[in-house]
């Protein structure tokens, strides 16, 4: 393939996402958020810091890295990666700040409308990069590629529904029924965007890490068909919302599709797991299994969430965002960071000196402990939200913060090669999260 396969900004996206994750957890603890507090403006600010700043950014950063691999061609318009990152970070902060204006902090009000504008700009730049890279005759045949495209449609729906809600809350003329818009907005974000993107990326990653055959299965094609149907239904829901029509029947259909789609996806992953050639999967895969368990839990809670709302809806959302999407992302992020760091530093040295293994850049026990604490806290949090148990929820938040801090330390250790014995470390390391393309090109030139 011509062009570098490494997208230089991926680690900057990861870094920005990790900062947002820690910030969200610290603020949730500091603001005293409990199970019943999710209507409070501070809670809304924190939820958006978590969902957009952490999950959406880490997913978009992963897509920027993954899409060129999927399409076997370099990332198109790769110069947009930095402005897109800046716009989405700024937009997330502005939106989170803007929510505080609902609590009477008038000074934050201008940020409320700035948030969706900046986020829209960032998302649009990403969509241009991803679409221009992916849309070719050869790649469109792949179900993984189609899945990523459906996820982009979900991202568009997420933004449209969110912008309409902000406009309503800010008291402008464009107004929607918030009680109808909210479930649709959450389904767009969690299902339509994040989960579909995670599905698309995971097929390829799981096959690679399990050493399983990559060929698409009937389940995968069926999941894509259901996902496309669900995105279509939700976008129709958006139009109905604009026309003030009730969307309950549509939500019930989406719920049915989610159950069927998740079941087929899990069956497909089970098939990959059984066909694997690697007898003992690594840490990232064993913890991805835990994430899949949370996916099942969250989808099983979905019918109750839609019919009853309240505590079970909060539990379902928490299980999805914290249990399913975050556990999966954290587990894979450790492995991917190690892999990218290894490629960046050691690929030019292969055949010229002895190179360490990717595994030796990581400390599996430390990462495993952190992921155990994360998953346990996610389970306690889900249970506490379902039962309205205040102390349990606060304990879960503490656990999540401890785990996230440990994972951040592990990521920094991987980037700085601190698990490697000193003689195996090259003298000059690339920067932690900023791209090193100028520097690495220079050093590569010198080596030849």
């Amino acid at each position: 393939m011509p062009g570098k396969s490494l997208s230089p900004w991926t680690l900057s996206w990861f870094g920005s996402a990790m900062i947002a994750l820690l910030l969200a957890l610290v603020l949730a603890l500091a603001a005293g958020i409990g199970p019943e507090d999710f209507d409070r403006p501070e809670a809304l600010a924190i939820v958006h810091l978590f969902a957009l700043g952490w999950l959406a950014q880490v997913m978009l950063g992963a897509l920027v890295q993954f899409v060129p691999v999927l399409a076997a061609r370099p990332l198109a318009f790769s110069r947009l990666a930095l402005p897109a990152l800046l716009a989405s970070s700024l937009g997330t902060l502005a939106l989170a700040g803007g929510f505080l204006s609902l609590d009477g902090y008038e000074i934050a009000r201008p940020f409320f409308l700035l948030g969706p504008v900046a986020l829209g700009l960032g998302f649009a730049m990403l969509a241009v990069m991803i679409l221009a890279t992916l849309v070719t005759r050869q790649t469109l045949r792949l179900p993984e590629v189609r899945m990523v495209l459906v996820a982009l449609a979900g991202l568009a729906g997420l933004w449209l529904s969110g912008a309409a809600m902000v406009s309503t809350l800010a008291g402008s003329r464009v107004a929607v029924d918030l009680s109808q818009a909210l479930p649709l907005h959450m389904l767009f974000g969690i299902g339509g965007f994040l989960t579909f993107a995670a599905f698309g990326v995971s097929y390829k990653l799981f096959a690679m890490f399990l050493l399983a055959p990559e060929a698409a299965s009937w389940q995968r094609r069926a999941v894509f068909a259901l996902a496309a149907m669900m995105a279509g239904l939700m976008l129709t829901g958006l139009l109905m919302l604009a026309g003030d029509a009730g969307i309950t029947p549509l939500l019930i259909a989406v719920c049915g599709i989610s159950l069927a789609g998740a079941a087929l996806y899990l069956d497909d992953v089970r098939r990959l797991w059984q066909a694997r050639r690697r007898a003992h999967p690594e840490l990232n895969m064993s913890w991805s299994r835990m994430a899949l368990g949370f996916l099942a839990l969250s989808v099983l809670l979905l019918p109750f969430a839609i019919w009853q709302g309240g505590a079970l809806a909060r539990a379902s959302v928490f299980a999805a965002l914290v249990g399913w999407l975050s556990t999966l992302t954290l587990a894979q992020m450790i492995r991917i960071t190690a892999f990218l760091t290894w490629i960046q530093i050691f690929a030019p040295l292969i055949g010229r000196r002895k190179v360490p293994t990717v595994q030796s850049l990581t400390h599996p026990r430390r990462a495993g402990l952190a992921l155990t604490i994360w998953s346990l806290s996610a389970a306690i949090g889900t249970l506490s939200l379902a039962t309205g148990f205040h102390a349990g929820f606060r304990l879960a938040l503490c656990g999540l913060l401890i785990a996230a801090t440990q994972i951040l330390c592990e990521l920094v250790a991987i980037r700085s090669l601190s698990h490697l014995p000193a003689p195996e470390r090259p003298g000059l390391l690339p920067p932690l999260i900023l791209p090193a393309f100028l520097k690495s090109q220079h050093s590569a030139e010198n080596q030849i």
Binding site: P2, K4, S5, I343, I350
Partner: protein, 175 residues
């Protein structure tokens, strides 16, 4: 049917005059005969051009010559009987390479192990010798490294999609 020899375009003089070679490249592309490739010589690796050319229906193969000059061949997609069905980026004319001096069976290895094995082995080959490797998947991270070191490659998935076949022709010794 015979394929016309590649049209050669050296952009170094244009760059040396401080001018932008893009117009000359596009003019050369427009003047190509059907099926004809463009061989471009540049003082650096013209990465931004690869995407432009891919969108215009050209496969790209690049290598750094011993004298430090980058030689990039843009081949119209789907042309040349020997190259039919090869992955984008494959060197043109790989069908005429000598028989492999070395065969590596790299099925069932986790990335980046196949990349390590291929780069280690190709370093030991004499210039012009060919290595054949069988892999589980397309080694995406290997290709830029091969190009950087001046080796050529050509590869594609087997018909059943279950394995990837890769040929690497060693360039000049790089250390």
């Amino acid at each position: 049917m015979t394929t016309p020899p590649p049209h050669e375009l050296d952009v170094r003089p244009i760059l040396a005059q401080g001018e932008e070679p893009f117009g000359a490249i596009m003019a050369a592309i427009d003047a190509l005969q059907p099926g004809q490739a463009l061989r471009m010589l540049a003082p650096f690796r013209p990465a931004p051009l690869f995407n432009v050319m891919a969108n215009r229906g050209f496969d790209c193969a690049d290598r750094r010559r011993e004298d430090g000059v980058w030689e990039v061949t843009f081949t119209p997609q789907g042309s040349g009987p020997a190259d039919a069905g090869m992955a984008p980026g494959s060197a043109p004319g790989a069908g005429f390479w000598p028989d492999p001096a070395l065969v590596l069976e790299l099925i069932g290895l986790e990335p980046p192990e196949p990349m390590v094995r291929i780069l280690e082995e190709v370093t030991m080959l004499e210039p012009g010798q060919v290595l054949f490797a069988l892999l589980d998947r397309e080694p995406m991270f290997l290709f830029p490294e091969l190009a950087q070191r001046g080796h050529e490659w050509a590869g594609n998935y087997a018909a059943d999609g279950q394995s990837y076949r890769l040929m690497v022709r060693a360039g000049a010794k790089d250390d």
